[in-house]
Amino acid sequence: MSLMIKILFLAVSLSPALTLSTWGESLAWPLFGGIELLFDLNPISAFFLLLLALGAPLVALPMLRGAPDRPAYALYALLLLGMQLLLLAGDFIGFFVGWEIMTWSSYLLLLRSSRTDLEGAQSYILFNLASAFLLLAGILVFHSLTGDFRIQAIDQLGGPEPLALAVLFGLAFLIKVGTLPLHLWVPRAYDQAPDIFSAFLSALMSKMGVYGLILLATLFPEALSGLLGRLLNGPAAGYILAWIGVITSIVATFKAISQEDMKRLLAYSSIAQVGYITTAIGVGSSLAIGGALFQALVHTLVKLLLFITVAGIILQTGRRRFNDLGHLIDRMPISFLAVLIGIIGLAGMPPLPGFAAKYLIFVSLIDARWLLLLAAMLLSSTAAFIYCYKLIYAPFLGHANSPEAKTATEAPWPYLVPQVILMGLLVALGIFPGFGIQFLIDPVLTALGLAPIGAPSWGELATPYGGYDGVVLMTVFGTAFALVTGGFFLLRGRMRRAGSPYDLSYAGEVPTADTPLHYGAGMGRELRRIPLIGWILLHTTTGFLTGLTRQSLAAAGLLGGFYGRNPQTWILLAVLLFALALTLVTLTGGAL
C-alpha cells in the first residue's frame, strides 16, 4: 500500500515533465462573466516549466524516504499543480490562481516541519499574500487599462497608470524573489521549512518571482525604457530595479557570511543570487536577460543540490549549526563532492556554468555602461566566496565537533541520487555553455522579442564582447591537473598521512579534543570590523515590521474596546449615533 502511494507520488512529481513534453494546443476554461482562463505553453514558460520538471522529481525522491507522509504528498502535488497553472497561464487570472495555490499549499507544507514557529509561518504567508494581493491589484489596474485579462503588451505608456501597474507588479514579484527590504520572510521560511522542501522553496518557487519579473518585460516592451526614459545605455526604470537587486545581493551576502546555521546561510545566499537575476532583468538587454535566465537555471540546479545535500547532513547528524559539525569529508564523501560542486557553481567560478551566467551579466552591465553597478555586483559576488568557503569548511573540513559528527555515515540513496544527477548536470552545462544558450536561452529571448545570443558551438559562449570555450577550458585544466599530479608522484620521497587529526603545527603545543580548533561559525566574524560591513550587519528591518505588528495589534485592542459586554452601552451607542447622524443630516440640509 505504502509502496503504491510512493510510486504514485513519484509519478505525480513527474507531471511537469509530462506536461512539458506532451503539451499540445492551448486550452481555455471559462470561469465566469467573460473571464476565460487560457492555458498555453510559450517558450518563456517552457523554460521555467523545464526548471520545474527538472526539480520536482529530484525533490520528491528524498521525500520518499521512510513512512509515506500522505498530507505532504498531497500538498506537494497541489503545489506542482499550482505552479504548472501559473506557468501555463496565458491570462492574468489563471496566473493569479496558480500563484495563490502555490502560496497556500507551500505554506501548509511549511507547517509540516516541527521547527516552524509562529513568527516564521506568519511572515511567510503574510508576505506572500501581500505579494499576491499586490499582484491582484496590478491585475485589476491592468484590466481597467486594457479591458482584458490576457497577458499582452500595453499599448499606451503615458500617464500614471502604467507606472502604477509597473510598481504594483514589481513589488509583488520583488516580494516573491525576496529583495531587500521585503526579504524578511525568506530566511525564516527557508530555515524552518522541512529540510527537503527548502530546496524546492529556494530553487523553484523563487523562480516564479523571476518568471513574473520577466513577464514585466513582456508587458512593457523595449524593456521598461518607455516608463522613465533611458539612462546611459539602459532603461532608467531598470536602473532602479538593478540597484535594488545589487543592494539586496550585497546585504544578503554579508548576512549570509555571519550566519551560524547551514540552512540560514543558504537562505541568505538565495536572496543574494536572486538579487543578481533582478539586476540583470533591470538591465533588460538581450545579454542581460540571457544572463538572468542562465543564472536562474544555474541557481535552480545549485540550490537543489546544496539544500538536498544539507538535508542529508542534517538527517545523518541531527545538527545544523556550523559549530556542531566538522570533518565529515571522510564519512560523507559524496555529499562533500556535492557541496563542492555546488559552491563552485554558487560562486560563479569557471568552469562551472555559474561563471557563464555571471559573464553574461557582467558583459551586459559593461554594454549598458553601468559600471558602478558592476563594481557593486562584483563586491557581492566576491564576498560570496567567504560564505561558500564557510559552507564547505565548517561541515566537511576541520575537526568533528559533536558526537554525531564523529559517527555519521553517508546520506541514504534517495538523497544521493538527486545529488549525483545534479552534479552531472552542472558539470555538463559548465563544459557546454553554448548548449544552454542555444537550446534553453535563445528560444526565450526570441519569444521576448530580443536578439538571440547564439553559440558557434556547444562548448562556446560567444558575445559581441568576446567569449570563452568551456571545452577547451576544461581540457586545459584537466590536463594540467593530471600532469601536475603525475609529475608530483615522479618525484622521490615518501608521502605519509598524519597519524592523528591533532598532528598540527601549533607552536609546539599538543592540541587535544578540548582545544578550539574548529573555526566554524566564527568565520567572518572579524568582518564586522570593516566599517561598511559592520554597519550592514548591525542594521535590520525586522524592527520596522515588529513595530508594524505591534501597532496593528494595539489598534485592534483599542477598537476591540467598542465591543463591550453591556447591552445598555450598545443601545446607548445606537441611539447616540442615530441622534448624531440625524443632527448632521438636518444641519447639512436634509439630503441623505
Binding site: R496, G499, Y502, E509, V510
Partner: protein, 210 residues
C-alpha cells in the same frame, strides 16, 4: 689517573653516537651530490628561542650579519623548516615542545645545538629542570660552542652544516630513526608521563620500515 679502555654506562652510548656521527657515506652518487648541492643553498631555520642564545639569532638574521645571503632564512612553522636551532639551555617543559616540533619537521631535517648549555648543560649542569645533553634526546648535527657563540660563530656553524649537507652525508634524522627506542627511552626518563604524543613518528609503529 683512572683510565678505562672500555666504556661503561652511558659512556658507551656516547661513543656509539660519536662513531655514527663521523661515518663517511659510501653511496654518494652524482644525483645525491646534486641534490645535496641544491639543498645546502637553502636552509629554512626554525629558531627555537629556548634560552639566552636566542639573542644571537637576531643579529644573524638581520641586516648586520644577513644570513639570507647564505640562503638561510627563518621559517614560521616546523613543516617548512629544515634546521631546528636549539638556542641555549633547554628546560624540561620546553623539551617536550622541541621534540614535537622536531618530529613535525619534514625530512631531511637538521638540528643545530647552540651554546654550551645545549652541549653539556653549561652553567645549568646541576639544575633540576634542565637537560644536560641535548644529544640524548634529539640527534644533533652541528654543535656551535660558546657562551654565547657570536654571530660569526653561528655563520661558521651553518657553513659547516651546509658543507656537510652538500657532501650528502647522512644526518641526524637517520640516526633518530634508527635509534628511536633509545631516544624515546631517554626522553621518557626525563619527561615521565608527560611525553609528546607518538603519532608524529608513524614509522616507529611501522617497525622502522618507511
Amino acid at each position: 689517573m683512572y683510565h678505562k679502555s672500555e666504556c661503561e654506562g652511558f659512556q658507551c652510548e656516547q661513543r656509539m653516537l660519536e662513531e655514527s656521527l663521523g661515518q663517511e657515506n659510501a653511496q654518494t652518487g652524482l644525483v645525491d651530490r646534486l641534490v645535496g648541492w641544491l639543498r645546502q643553498r637553502s636552509l629554512f631555520v626554525l629558531a627555537y628561542g629556548t634560552g639566552c642564545g636566542a639573542i644571537e639569532m637576531r643579529p644573524l638574521m638581520t641586516s648586520r650579519f644577513d644570513a639570507e645571503r647564505f640562503g638561510i632564512i627563518g621559517a614560521p612553522t616546523p613543516r617548512q623548516a629544515d634546521v631546528l636551532v636549539i638556542s641555549g639551555y633547554l628546560a624540561l617543559k620546553t623539551l617536550k615542545r622541541v621534540i614535537r616540533s622536531y618530529e613535525q619537521m619534514q625530512e631531511p631535517k637538521y638540528v643545530i645545538a647552540l651554546g654550551s648549555c645545549a652541549i653539556n648543560g653549561g652553567m645549568y649542569w646541576d639544575s633540576y629542570n634542565t637537560i644536560k645533553q641535548l644529544d640524548h634526546y634529539l640527534p644533533v648535527d652541528m654543535y656551535i660552542n660558546g657562551c654565547m657563540p657570536r654571530p660569526e660563530a653561528l655563520i661558521e656553524g651553518f657553513a659547516a652544516l651546509q658543507k656537510k649537507i652538500g657532501r650528502g652525508e647522512p644526518s641526524g634524522f637517520k640516526r633518530y630513526r634508527e635509534n628511536i627506542d633509545w631516544y624515546k627511552a631517554n626522553q621518557r626518563r626525563v619527561l615521565g608521563e608527560n611525553m609528546p604524543p607518538d603519532y608524529t613518528y608513524d614509522w616507529y609503529h611501522a617497525g622502522g620500515v618507511a
